[in-house]
């Protein structure tokens, strides 16, 4: 197996209120079959052995689904291969390369420490309306609702969002429209989601605005970095649903 020697410039920031900056480290002898996070593990072992505190970064499942890992790598959220950072492997880098590692940046995602950011705004948006009211135990038989395959597939495609926030980090405006679009489209496409459709759309968009995310200006950087391949058509669907809901709210 090939091994790489790299220079990494990592954003270090003691806590949310401290000023941060890039610090350069040597990452030596990195196996090319290691994942990007494993490279950071190795670097952290080396740092701690020298008595330097480890670089803090969020990660959990390391199989691309929990959405906890973040990191902008050379300026691109999750790095060069349209997967999550944990599924990015070092064979995508060249020996001797300098790699910039920074946190996901947006006003709505304040940095907590080093590469960790606070993405709880996403949770609050979903608390505002990202659900279908289905009291436990009150459901009818699952096959009583027929859902045409195209609708089921479209909902599934949107529901694949892993809530990592790369879309926000990639967006020059720090907009969360791809995320909110995916969440709303998932539920708004299904028959079960119709009764609360308008209310859900309005509540989620208003919460999104209140959380300090920017506005979508159709740059589509979000779609390019999304590890779950959420298409930007969820944004146009949200644009449509929101105006319908706003009009219907005003005439009620």
């Amino acid at each position: 197996m090939k091994h790489l020697n790299l220079k990494v410039k990592v954003w270090r920031q003691k806590n949310a209120s401290a000023e941060g900056g890039l610090v350069e480290y040597e990452a030596r002898n990195i196996p090319e079959d290691a994942s990007f996070l494993e490279m950071l593990d190795i670097l952290n072992e080396q740092l701690q052995e020298k008595g330097e505190p480890a670089i803090a970064f969020d990660h959990d499942c390391r199989e691309g689904i929990c959405g906890m890992c973040s990191l902008s790598i050379n300026g691109i959220p999750h790095g060069p291969s349209a997967t999550t950072t944990c599924q990015l492997y070092m064979r995508h880098f060249k020996d001797g390369e300098t790699i910039f590692i920074e946190p996901f940046r947006a006003r709505a995602f304040p940095v907590l420490r080093d590469l960790m950011v606070d993405r709880s705004a996403f949770d609050r948006i979903q608390q505002a309306g990202g659900y279908i009211t289905a009291r436990t135990g009150s459901a009818q038989d699952a096959n009583a609702i027929l859902i045409p395959k195209p609708a089921a597939d479209k909902a599934m495609e949107a529901a694949a969002c892993i809530g990592c926030g790369a879309c926000v980090a990639a967006c020059p405006n720090g907009s969360a429209m791809l995320f909110v679009g995916a969440k709303a489209t998932h539920l708004n496409t299904l028959p079960q989601g119709q009764p609360e459709r308008n209310q859900r759309t309005l509540a989620m968009v208003r919460k999104m605005d209140a959380e300090g995310f920017g506005n979508c200006s159709n740059h589509y950087e979000c779609e390019a970095v999304c590890p779950a391949n959420i298409p930007l058509t969820v944004i146009s669907q949200l644009n449509r649903d929101f105006v319908k809901a706003a009009v219907s709210e005003s005439v009620q």
């Binding site: 691109i76 644009n239 706003a246």
Partner: protein
């Protein structure tokens, strides 16, 4: 009223305002081109057209007012969005990169602002006629648009700025047209490519149309015709 305030207060609402006003301005750009191209049909044709427009001053002023209001909303709302967006991205990466680099997208505000200055100049030049004393004594009188345009474009500086501006306009539209549709919720997986290419094609057809006039003047294909 409450509805409008809350609608305009939301991010998507503002985007709709930009998109709808943008769409209206595109309509004007198309209509204006249809008028302008009549210059190739000779002085009678285009001068009659100008006279026709001026024969109904009330309607003309209503259209002008709507266009100016639309333009104002378009520009004002965009600037407001741009300011919000800047604030939402409090800090940029030290190392910046883009996965979808398209100059047209990145320069919407800039191309828009240059266009705005062009619109002001263009109105002063051909509508108010305050920049060129010759326009006050045209051979066929006030509505001799044919002569006025040709005289105007014979100045390479004027033509140059005009060409640059229509180029920026069409670049603005090449992203703007499909962007408008996306914002208005008109997009889907199957339509996506068509809308994208359609938007660009329309933009560059418009560019060709607008550019043809100063180019023809500079190449002496369009010359002043004595009455």
């Amino acid at each position: 009223m409450k509805f409008l305030a809350s609608f305009y207060g939301s991010s998507i609402g503002k985007k709709w305002v930009v998109a709808l006003t943008g769409l209206m301005l595109v309509g004007y750009v198309v209509g204006h081109l249809v008028g302008n191209l009549q210059i190739f049909a000779g002085p009678e044709q285009i001068n009659q057209y100008a006279a026709m427009l001026h024969s109904m001053p009330k309607a003309l002023w209503v259209i002008r007012a709507v266009l100016i209001a639309g333009l104002f909303l378009h520009v004002f709302t965009t600037l407001k969005l741009a300011a919000e967006n800047k604030a939402a991205k409090a800090r940029q990466n030290e190392r910046r990169a883009s996965t979808a680099p398209k100059p047209a997208k990145k320069t919407m505000v800039l191309s828009g602002l240059v266009l705005l200055s062009f619109i002001v100049y263009h109105l002063l030049h051909f509508t108010v006629r305050s920049t060129d004393p010759r326009f006050h004594s045209l051979p066929r009188g006030e509505h001799d648009v044919h002569t006025m345009v040709i005289l105007g474009f014979q100045n390479p500086l004027v033509s140059g700025f005009y060409l640059l501006s229509v180029f920026l306009l069409c670049m603005h539209l090449s992203h703007g047209l499909q962007s408008v549709l996306q914002t208005l919720g008109i997009n889907s997986k199957s339509l996506r490519d068509t809308l994208n290419k359609g938007g660009q094609t329309v933009s560059w057809i418009l560019f060709a149309g607008y550019a043809s006039i100063p180019v023809a003047v500079l190449l002496n294909k369009l010359t002043v015709v004595a009455p």
